[in-house]
């Protein structure tokens, strides 16, 4: 029986503060490359102007440590915890939550959380002096002695354009692809395109939504993906971009920069499909402790 590796609370706390410090002022390097690629093929003058503004913004924000977008959203963390570690003190949620709140003050990020979703139920709205960030933490266990943290600042505008549907198991692939394409295209300019599209297929009702989010946030190597899904991702990307919604829904060659699918086994009676959209301000990082 191998001994447990103890991870100090302070290390987790500081890692998260530093991670947020890196991502609030910069999209992922891959996203910036994809925006550059989109600019290289764009012909529409307004679309080019907007893409140029996005790239200029990335540069300025990184240099001046300013948020790339005022909506730093809700923090989503996938914590994949090795079964041979113990996080000192804890619980992990408390450490993450404290780090996020302190990062919010440190970097002057916007409080975007209302603790009462039905606003008329509570007069307490937001008190800027003591408002709290809430964190969505997904825990899973892995073999080994590492802690993997995948952290994202997820804006509300893009999140609102997400959708989940429980299909019949005999639904054709064509219908599923149409559903995904329509969901992205009918969002128009709302999620600040160019967007990234996460798709979860299979699992069950809640699991496919989590897969869609994870597909956006957690990089997986192409070799881990079934060729059928790789081809499906390419087809979806082409179909979405052919519709021409374009940059900010104002026309152009690129509406989506990337489509990522994650799939899992599901019940023979079901075929759950979830779509989670993120904007070009794609603020994600993966860290292993």
């Amino acid at each position: 029986m191998p001994s447990l590796r103890i991870i100090p609370e302070k290390q987790v706390y500081e890692t998260i503060i530093d991670a947020i410090g890196k991502i609030y002022c910069q999209s992922t390097p891959e996203t910036i490359t994809l925006i550059n690629n989109a600019l290289a093929i764009e012909e529409d003058d307004v679309a080019k102007d907007m893409l140029n503004a996005m790239l200029k913004n990335e540069e300025l924000a990184a240099k001046e440590k300013l948020p790339i977008c005022q909506d730093t959203g809700i923090v989503v963390v996938f914590a994949d915890i090795g079964n041979q570690i113990k996080i000192e003190n804890g619980p992990l949620y408390a450490i993450v939550s404290k780090a996020v709140n302190d990062a919010w003050r440190k970097y002057y990020l916007r409080d975007s959380i209302t603790f009462e979703p039905i606003r008329c139920f509570s007069n307490h709205i937001q008190n800027p002096e003591n408002s709290q960030q809430s964190v969505i933490l997904h825990l899973s266990e892995l073999p080994g002695n590492k802690l993997e943290l995948h952290i994202s600042l997820k804006g509300g505008g893009a999140e609102n354009c997400s959708l989940l549907k429980m299909f019949n198991p005999t639904t054709s692939l064509r219908e599923i692809e149409d559903f995904i394409v329509d969901t992205v295209v009918s969002s128009g300019g709302k999620p600040c395109p160019p967007v990234l599209v996460g798709v979860g297929i299979g699992g069950n009702f809640e699991r496919c939504a989590i897969l869609a989010k994870r597909a956006l946030m957690v990089p997986i190597s192409p070799s881990e993906k079934k060729p059928e899904y790789k081809k499906m991702e390419e087809r979806l990307l082409t179909q979405i971009n052919q519709k021409g919604k374009g940059i900010q829904g104002f026309g152009g060659k690129t509406t989506a920069l990337k489509v990522s699918i994650l799939s899992e086994p599901c019940h023979i009676a079901s075929l759950p499909v979830a779509i989670n959209i993120d904007c070009h301000a794609h603020r994600c990082i993966s860290i292993t402790i």
Binding site: K56, N57, L66, Q70
Partner: protein, 167 residues
């Protein structure tokens, strides 16, 4: 793409001169208003009560700013999704609102109301906060501070970029 510098407030006669996809560099005063502020403005109008600022010829920016870091004029700013304000917009247009800045499409009803009242809807690129905050000359909480980022802020801007989307 034409690039045109404009000064707020805008009059209907000026608005007529623009065409869809023109890029306007806007200077003047914007009031920010998001969902909760729209709800309150609508309630006040329906109850016949005075509004916190003069809506006639005014410009609304659908935006909730981030806190202002020390030594800066304002925090991160940028548009939020306009469609969430659709339900409340026709009444504001009837009461003189002229310019709206946000992101994304508007409903048929709002589009018609914008045309009827000779107003203008501009979209501004979302997710370029660092760039946009450079155009802000001053920014202060104007009213309803308790709403946090959803309060109404009075924002003076210089050459703030917006693209004509509905006219």
């Amino acid at each position: 793409m034409r690039i045109i510098k404009i000064e707020l407030p805008l009059k209907s006669e000026e608005i007529k001169m623009f065409t869809i996809r023109d890029k306007l560099l806007i200077s003047g005063v914007l009031y920010t208003a998001r969902d909760q502020a729209h709800l309150r403005l609508n309630q006040l109008i329906k109850e016949g009560k005075p509004l916190p600022f003069n809506l006639a010829d005014s410009a609304l920016f659908y935006c909730g700013p981030a806190p202002t870091p020390p030594g800066k004029v304002c925090g991160a700013i940028g548009p939020t999704t306009s469609a969430r304000m659709d339900k409340y917009t026709p009444l504001l247009l009837e009461n003189g609102l002229k310019v709206m800045i946000g992101k994304g499409e508007r409903s048929k009803e709002v589009t018609n109301a914008i045309r009827k009242h000779r107003a203008i809807y501009l979209i501004c690129v979302g997710g370029i906060s660092a760039l946009l905050s450079q155009t802000v000359v001053s920014c202060e909480t104007f009213c309803w501070k308790e709403l946090g980022a959803e309060a109404i802020y009075r924002m003076e801007v210089k050459d703030f970029p917006g693209y004509v989307a509905i006219i």
